[in-house]
Symmetry: C2
């Protein structure tokens, strides 16, 4: 089997990560919603004031260069009910590499990171029709799903 | 009419802000969900690494000390689709002071803050049965509500 390495994302991973973001947006039926620029993406993670952190899953096969096949990207959210938590913005494994446990390797790494940082828990969202993702998350004991909240947004006019 | 001042929150506002958090949680039918400590709340906003910022609405009436009757608390979220955005965690006006335009004063301040910080927009959540809040937000042109996302959470075991 190929050798899978879970490691912290570096600035040079950003172009490939953004490719994976586009792949997931297509699956989530919203490809035109991805409007972020390459520069803003990289600068937000690796500039003077980082606002996101990530782990990537990298495959190492004999005779080929290392290749990123998935990632988990998060930031610190602040809940006035629960305090500081990890907010998992994206957990992505490219289609050809699903079903091999790589998503769980990334998710387990997030759990250790929460512990190391002293965060009391994680939050994220999942689309209600995304059964494979819901099944994936249900494997984690104590995982809770709650309905009834609408997402609201307001874009600033330039 | 009383004199209402919208200003940046200070550390000394934290105990009163937390009272208002409890008031809102009761309205949202989840009073026991508020488990944050006074210390963690204040330290997260005013410690070495602040992760939240807020504006408070303060009433100044003749012969009485200034009193905080509402606030808007936010943090920076990072969307892999949209980039850095303001995430409005809580917008609260205490019950006796609703319907006087104070919520809009706070919300308008958030919009200016987004512009000043160069953020492309705001996001927040609203409960699907909270008609007064939904009506309030609908007054902002271009505000979008989206359904179909479930909130997921996992608490770390100590």
């Amino acid at each position: 089997m190929s050798n899978i390495l879970i490691r912290r994302a570096e600035r040079s991973d950003c172009p490939r990560m953004l490719e994976l973001v586009h792949e997931l947006a297509l699956y989530e039926k919203a490809p035109s919603e991805v409007v972020i620029s390459q520069e803003h993406f990289a600068e937000s993670g690796f500039g003077k004031k980082p606002v996101w952190w990530a782990f990537v899953a990298e495959v190492n096969e004999a005779g080929k260069p290392p290749f990123v096949i998935g990632f988990a990207l998060w930031y610190i959210r602040f809940s006035t009910w629960k305090g500081q938590r990890m907010y998992l913005e994206d957990l992505i494994v490219t289609e050809d590499w699903r079903g091999k446990g790589i998503g769980h390797m990334l998710f387990d790494k997030l759990i250790s990171e929460c512990r190391e940082l002293g965060l009391a828990g994680m939050n994220w969202q999942v689309l209600d029709w995304n059964e494979p993702a819901i099944r994936f998350y249900r494997k984690y004991e104590g995982m809770k799903l709650s309905e009834g909240w609408l997402n609201a947004s307001l874009d600033m006019k330039p």
